[in-house]
Amino acid sequence: MTPKNNFFSLRGQFIYWCAAILALSTAFPFFWMVSTSFKPLQEIFVFPPNFLPAEFTLANFVRLFEQTRFLVYFKNSVFVSFTTVVLTMTIGSAGAYSLTRFKFYGREKIASLILFTYMFAPIMIVIPFYVLIKKIGLANTHAALIMAYTAFCLPFSLWLLRAFFQSIPLALEKAALIDGASRLEAVIYVVLPLALPGIIATGIFTFILAWNDYIFVRILITSDELKTLSVGIADLYNATVIDWGMIMSGSMLITVPVLVFFIFIQRYLIAGWGAGAMKG
């Protein structure tokens, strides 16, 4: 462990100041969002602004729940994101297990195909994707969204899960087989429990991607009652009179789940990053 920089040395001073500026410039907008969402309407527009609400109120949240379909959007977001996670994790784990435990023709080709598709950006596929989805009659359904997210998350999930499965020694499985377990039992009782932390971390990356997405919802969903949170909140902004208090409280509520999950996966961040789990 390197010694901590002394706050009183010149170098130490410099580093502490830089770190403070970094933390402040990234965290302050969030603080401002929270502060605004608890202010009563009149106070939001006072000049000079109050850094903390002088009068603390939940009125913005009440309006958000009463005047908008926030709960419907929330439910849709949860449904779509979790279904995507379950699908991606099932298909991805099976695929990653196959890539690490079996030898077959074309295995390396598949691995490089996965790496190549990971470079695709949503805008490059969303137009033909929309036309195709419309042709098969799935436009304006959650199924279309789930298909898009699963396809988008699979490449990095496979890549990440492959790394996790590679780190589980083959000998453990073989030992289970010698002890009389079937292949399936060996997978369920030996491999999966060991791979679980990796699967959960990958799942959270998938969740964040699906939860945060805007473009696919904007394009694939037209009915208001099927929208998810990101489009729902973005549309609040398009009203004639912008209700900043309500928008800030809504923004805060979408951000919370993401940050909670994010704190959970801090440990895996480096691994996930390496595999490109955080696109954008």
Partner: protein, 291 residues
């Protein structure tokens, strides 16, 4: 079943391969096909027009403007992200109290939904009630409020917001690599009398070369194809035209002019520019040991 039976392996990977091929690879190929048609975005009829969409775009000044805005946007955000990202990584690589907290907090902008990032900044940069204008006025840097979303400043605002949102990616990638640089290299440089700046140039930077190679590549691909950040900022400002990058233009052609074929042609052009730029980039900077 034999332990390494290829059949079981193929069976297990096939759902993933099938989904990737049908939902990612096929749409891209279909997009190329679609770009040869005149097709309404909502109605099924279509007419084969060959390369007419491309020919139209080549003569269209809006298209060339969008290429220009897209280039300005991606080049400036990439340069700023890399510079700020590397500096930030150097700082959080130092040992100080509260380091883990700072490391966590600076990743926030990258993790939150883009919608939230844009809304936050629209509020902070609001010309009447925004905090940024208030602070700038209070300190005396400006005399009149700046119209951040107006046509003169919207590109600057967009670049600043994008750098804020995406620099954490650079920090984390670079930091991960920095932690693996053997400390003995720095000791040796110190013994040789190199100051902090020369240690950075001659020890740190060469070690970061390969990670920067990949990070710049990925960031370029993602910034050049960035849709949501740009599009959301254009909403409700009136200065939409001045940040209409290529992805936004493709979206508008498809979903506001209802020209799906034209939109697809724009996506294909984006793809071609990316492939060409990547090829040049690899030729210029790739060394044998990388990727």
């Amino acid at each position: 079943m034999k332990y390494n039976s290829p059949k079981a392996g193929i069976l297990l990977i096939s759902p993933a391969v099938l989904l990737i091929c049908s939902l990612l690879v096929y749409p891209v190929i279909y997009g190329i096909w679609l770009s040869l048609f005149k097709k309404h975005s909502f109605f099924p009829d279509q007419r084969f027009v060959g390369l007419a969409n491309y020919a139209y775009l080549m003569k269209n000044s809006d298209f060339w403007m969008s290429v220009w805005y897209g280039t300005v946007y991606s080049v400036s955000t990439i340069v700023l992200q890399i510079v700020i990202g590397v500096i930030a990584a150097l700082i959080v690589n130092e040992a100080f109290k509260g380091r883990n907290f700072v490391r966590g907090v600076i990743l926030f902008p990258y993790v939150i939904p883009t919608v939230v990032a844009i809304i936050l900044w629209k509020w902070l940069l609001n010309n009447q009630f925004g905090l940024v204008n208030y602070l700038l006025l209070a300190v005396g840097i400006i005399d009149d409020p700046i119209s951040w979303m107006g046509k003169d400043h919207i590109m600057t605002s967009l670049i600043l917001i994008s750098v804020w949102e995406f620099f954490p990616f650079v920090v984390l990638s670079v930091l991960a690599r920095m932690q693996t640089i053997p400390p003995v290299l720095y000791k040796a440089a110190k013994v040789d009398g190199a100051g902090a700046f020369r240690r950075f140039i001659h020890v740190t930077l060469p070690q970061l070369r390969s990670v920067l190679f990949v990070v710049i590549l990925l960031r370029s691909i993602w910034m050049f194809t960035k849709f949501d950040t740009v599009w959301l900022l254009t909403q409700g400002g009136g200065a939409e035209k001045y940040i209409r990058t290529l992805p936004v233009y493709a979206y508008m052609r498809t979903f506001m002019y209802y020209q799906a074929g034209m939109g697809a042609a724009l996506a294909v052009i984006m793809f071609i520019i990316l492939v060409a730029a990547t090829a040049i980039y690899f030729k210029m900077f790739r060394r044998e040991e990388e990727i």
